[in-house]
């Protein structure tokens, strides 16, 4: 609903901003009339930026046209200055990055590696009023006065509801050696979250968080018209489509790109990119031109990138809704640039290695994931500072589903040749068979989720998650509870939830509650209890505690007719009377969270009994009398509860059959151990 309301008011803006390339003669490609605005288009940017590779500096000037969509007025504009996160070690980003314990660069950041962005001037575009002196830095999240990632500009007069304002800025910025997928390596540049970017003015004020190590971004939708000046001859890729290419005659070229209805603009340039073009076509979906910017050494993997992109466009498109932009740019980042695996509107980075054998799932998985973000993040633009799980979780779930559907389960990749002192994985790769998930590869998320399962309440705003463990909740836990919903409600029902959510919130900013509202509305089940549980930090862990089965012996005092007789258990069952066995199964709820589960009792003669259990109490006994012995019991036999953190304790056999497989793996391991010892023998 929220998204729909603003469309009419925003539409007029689209006309104003787009007029230059509707009327101008400079439009290079056929200037199809801009279709109806898809988004509110209330934050529109025209930017001129120049990259100087010598100094690794950007200098930019931009005009922002912003419309206040809220009912209240504001006399301030809040901006993100993301690149100041890597200005020095005092920023909130750097501080939090240290908690993540994975930044191998923290000890050796060289002089030229840091970045910054400085705003040189701010003024009102219409009358030239200089606002430069009103700028100040804000630290709404943590009061870190050394953080310079949020800047506020005071306005001389408030912007009232429905009004618009045009602001001009001049700025310059130093490109970092890659932090958070942004930066340079050699002549390779990946320029993301690079210009002073407006926060989002919401009903209760500005939503403009500082840059955090563990969180991503949030912005309003708009129209971008960006001219990028780079060395002539370099290949450039960016959000949107190129509408003009101008040779400046001074060794530089200016690439002008335009895109409507997106909430960010990212670009990359390098002299080395190999450009591969392809097109996605599908009976039920609009076509999409695919532009792949490939590292030349990955030429042999071009088709794999394209196939994975198409798989995402197809499956997400069919499941959730069509990709509306008509084009997408896939960037294969330079080796060691650290820019792999990131999403931006109509452009994303994949990531592969020189040796990535087919069947190992790379680059397919990351390509599907980032292409999938075009839907969850790009089109449905939730606040990633606060509800990262909405895009990352929905997308991680969808990635696994798409990969399974399009490529099946991938093999385990063992990498070799990692020289001393070198971080990361080896250069050569071998695929190993026999180490998979048996078609349940989405359960790899259980392994990632388990150690951090109780690290934070999922309902906590993402920027307050612990920087190290937060990802386990946003990505893995959410993917697992969505999988649980799929198993529980059926795919059609979950698909209906997700596609309704997509339809309703495309080009909008949904919150967690908006998702829950759609979920409750679309399904007939009452999801309240489940959703409240997963938003907490309690874990699901059901187990079969014990199984026992024994003959119902004729022993002890038994009433026979009118008499009570004492039997010693030696009597055989009478002719025609079956021997009976009593089977007892104790199941437990080991975790704090509960979920209705089934309990399966399987007997030696093949007979099976299923009981339903609400799963609330801490334990429950199931007893069966049946003329065959119990063989095993399973709680949640259909694996509905993908969130269960210990799947292996969900079943129990009367007789353990662990020996043979234990021998199998121990025998193999012993041979490895002998080789390991022999390797020590090298020294003598």
């Amino acid at each position: 609903m929220h998204g729909m309301e603003h469309r009419t008011s925003a539409f007029s803006w689209a006309g104003v901003v787009l007029s230059p390339f509707l009327t101008g003669a400079l439009v290079a490609q056929e200037a199809a009339p801009e279709p109806e605005a898809l988004s509110p288009r209330n934050a529109n940017y025209t930017i001129d930026v120049r990259l100087d590779p010598e100094t690794r500096m950007l200098s930019g000037s931009q005009t922002l046209t912003w419309t206040n969509l809220q009912q209240s007025s504001t006399n301030r504009l809040w901006f993100h200055l993301y690149w100041n996160a890597w200005r020095n070690r005092q920023s909130t980003w750097m501080r939090e990055d240290r908690f993540r314990g994975r930044s191998d660069r923290k000890d050796r950041i060289e002089e030229g590696d840091w970045s910054y962005i400085e705003v040189d001037s701010v003024s009102l575009a219409d009358d030239g009023t200089d606002l430069t002196r009103t700028m100040y830095f804000a630290f709404p999240d943590d009061r870190n006065i050394d953080d310079r990632t949020v800047m506020v500009v005071l306005l001389p007069t408030p912007v009232e509801a429905g009004e618009s304002i045009r602001v001009t800025m001049e700025w310059h910025a130093k490109v970092p050696r890659t932090f958070a997928r942004t930066g340079f390596r050699g002549d390779y540049y990946f320029i993301a979250h690079w210009f002073p970017k407006l926060g989002v003015f919401e009903a209760d004020g500005w939503n403009c968080h500082q840059y955090h190590a563990g969180t991503e971004y949030y912005s309003d939708y708009g129209v971008y018209d960006v001219s990028m000046t780079v060395p002539a001859g370099w290949v450039l890729g960016a959000t949107g489509r190129e509408v003009e290419l101008r040779d400046n005659g001074d060794g530089t070229s200016t690439h002008r790109y335009a895109q409507s209805d997106v909430h960010a603009f990212t670009w990359t340039t390098s002299p080395d990119y190999l450009v591969v073009e392809d097109r996605f076509e599908h009976d039920e979906l609009p076509p999409v031109d695919i532009r792949l910017l490939l590292q030349p050494e990955h030429q042999g993997q071009a088709e794999r990138h394209v196939a994975a992109t198409k798989a995402a466009l197809e499956h997400y498109g069919v499941w959730y809704g069509a990709y509306p932009y008509g084009h997408v740019t896939v960037v294969d980042p330079a080796y060691g640039s650290g820019a792999g695996g990131m999403e931006y509107p109509t452009l994303f980075t994949a990531g592969t290695r020189l040796f990535s054998p087919e069947g190992g799932g790379r680059p397919e998985r990351v390509t599907i994931h980032e292409a999938g973000h075009q839907f969850w993040y790009g089109i449905v633009g939730n606040n990633e500072f606060e509800f990262a799980w909405l895009d990352e979780g929905l997308n991680t779930f969808s990635t696994a589903r798409t990969q399974q559907a399009a490529f099946g389960e991938s093999l385990y990749t063992q990498r070799f040749f990692r020289p001393p002192g070198i971080e990361g994985s080896g250069f050569f790769a071998l695929l190993l068979e026999g180490y998979g998930y048996g078609g349940q590869s989405h359960l790899n998320r259980v392994t990632r989720y388990r150690p951090d399962a109780s690290s934070d309440l999922q309902a906590t705003p993402t920027f307050l998650y612990h920087p190290k463990s937060g990802g386990s909740l946003s990505y893995s836990k959410t993917a697992l509870w969505l999988r649980t919903l799929e198993n529980w409600l059926g795919w059609e029902s979950l698909q209906s939830i997700l596609s309704t959510f997509f339809e309703r919130w495309q080009f909008g900013h949904p919150t967690a509650d908006d998702f829950f509202a759609v979920a409750n509305e679309v399904t007939e089940e009452d999801l309240g209890h489940f959703l409240r549980s997963v938003m907490g930090s309690e874990v699901f862990d059901y187990s079969v505690q014990s199984v026992a089965t024994f003959a119902v012996a004729n022993e002890g005092w038994v009433k026979q007719g009118d008499e009570i007789v004492l039997l010693d258990g030696s009597a055989e069952p009478a002719d025609g009377e079956e021997e009976m066995f009593r089977s007892e199964v104790v199941v437990r709820r080991l975790g704090g969270a509960s979920f209705p589960v089934e309990v399966l009792l399987a007997f030696e003669d093949g007979h099976e009994v299923r009981h339903k259990w609400r799963g609330k109490r801490r334990w429950k006994l199931f007893v069966e009398e049946y003329p065959s012995r119990l063989e095993y019991a399973v709680i949640d036999p259909d694996g509905i509860l993908a969130l269960d953190i210990h799947p292996s304790n969900n079943s129990r056999e009367v007789k353990s059959k662990a020996q043979l497989p234990a021998w199998k793996w121990a025998a193999r391991w012993t041979v490895w151990l002998q080789d390991f010892f022999s390797t020590f023998g090298f020294f003598v």
């Binding site: 040749f417 180490y435 392994t447 388990r450």
Partner: protein, 312 residues
């Protein structure tokens, strides 16, 4: 020609000493089987009565493996696809080259060092037997020789360990410096080329240390040279005096090891349904591989001895 003659004489010496091979193999078996049994126990205990055994019969199920690694206190953490498959040799070689061999599970590293010491102990006996040869293999004689030369060999080996450590530190410095040097290179193949190129002098240096000490050990026993430094001097003089022969011989044996590994990789059965027969077969093939490696080790000793005698 001398090299080939030395090589074949080494091979013959190894083949003519099945009891020696058996002894070495038994030592390795004795070092590893108890740990293997402990691993078997740990896996079986972890599976317990769970039906996850059905998955584990087919594959090293990674959902279970994730749970197992999380719960495992000790040895269990060392179970992973690379240590339960046919790439074990490559994996260990990478650990050795990357300088990560000694940062593995502490107990296993300690056992590995212990095994190396026992190997060293027996090396004295092996060289003595190959050098003075002939006659029936008498265990007590063999062990006597082992004991007689252990002190000398240990001193030499301690010295070599210091040098290997130096080579490792140097290699690490080279790679860290190189990594910084290629920080603006955008092509993985180029970086890989540099890294492989850097490996050449490192491996060469390692090989030189290895050979100098191999021949120093031979000198210490063959020529009854009790002085560590004097033995080292002889080894060094020999290697410097006949660098091509020495290197060719080492390469020859190295190629045999590669051939053996390749053969084993091809022959090793994949991961299939667990059966007692299959498990036995995998283990048996593993033992043939292990015994093959030991035989090649003996071949190297015998060949080096022959070369030393022939060229001295």
């Amino acid at each position: 020609m001398m090299v080939l003659r030395a090589f074949s004489s080494g091979l013959l010496a190894a083949l003519a000493a099945p009891k020696l091979l058996l002894l070495l193999w038994c030592v390795l078996l004795a070092a590893s089987v108890p740990l293997g049994l402990a691993m078997q126990q740990e896996i079986a205990d972890d599976i317990g009565a769970s039906r996850v055994h059905l998955d584990l019969r087919q594959r090293l199920d990674r959902v279970w493996l994730g749970e197992f690694s999380g719960r495992a206190e000790s040895l269990g953490k060392m179970l992973e696809p690379a240590t339960a498959g046919r790439v074990d040799f490559l994996y260990n070689l990478d650990l050795l080259f990357g300088g990560r061999l000694f940062s593995q599970h502490r107990g296993l590293v300690a056992a590995g060092v212990g095994y190396a010491l026992v190997s060293l102990l027996m090396l004295g006996g092996v060289i003595d037997r190959f050098a003075r040869g002939g006659g029936r293999f008498v265990l007590s004689q063999f062990l006597g020789a082992c004991g007689r030369y252990f002190g000398r060999l240990l001193k030499l080996t301690t010295l070599s360990a210091v040098l290997y450590w130096g080579v490792y530190r140097g290699a690490k410095w080279v790679y860290v410096t190189l990594e910084r040097g290629v920080q603006d290179v955008t092509v993985e193949a180029t970086v890989l080329r540099y890294y492989l190129l850097a490996a050449v002098p490192i491996l060469l240096l390692t090989a030189v240390v290895m050979m100098v000490f191999d021949y120093a050990r031979i000198a210490a026993i063959l020529e009854e040279e009790p002085g560590t430094l004097r033995a080292l001097g002889r080894g060094l003089r020999f290697v410097l005096g006949h660098p091509v022969s020495v290197l060719t011989l080492a390469v020859l044996v190295g190629l045999c090891v590669i051939g053996l590994v390749a053969l084993r990789t091809v022959l090793a059965p994949g991961v299939g349904e667990a059966t007692a027969l299959g498990i036995g077969l995998v283990f048996l093939l593993g033992q043939l591989f292990v015994a093959g490696r030991l035989a090649l080790r003996l071949t190297l000793v015998g060949a080096e001895l022959a070369l030393y005698r022939g060229l001295r």
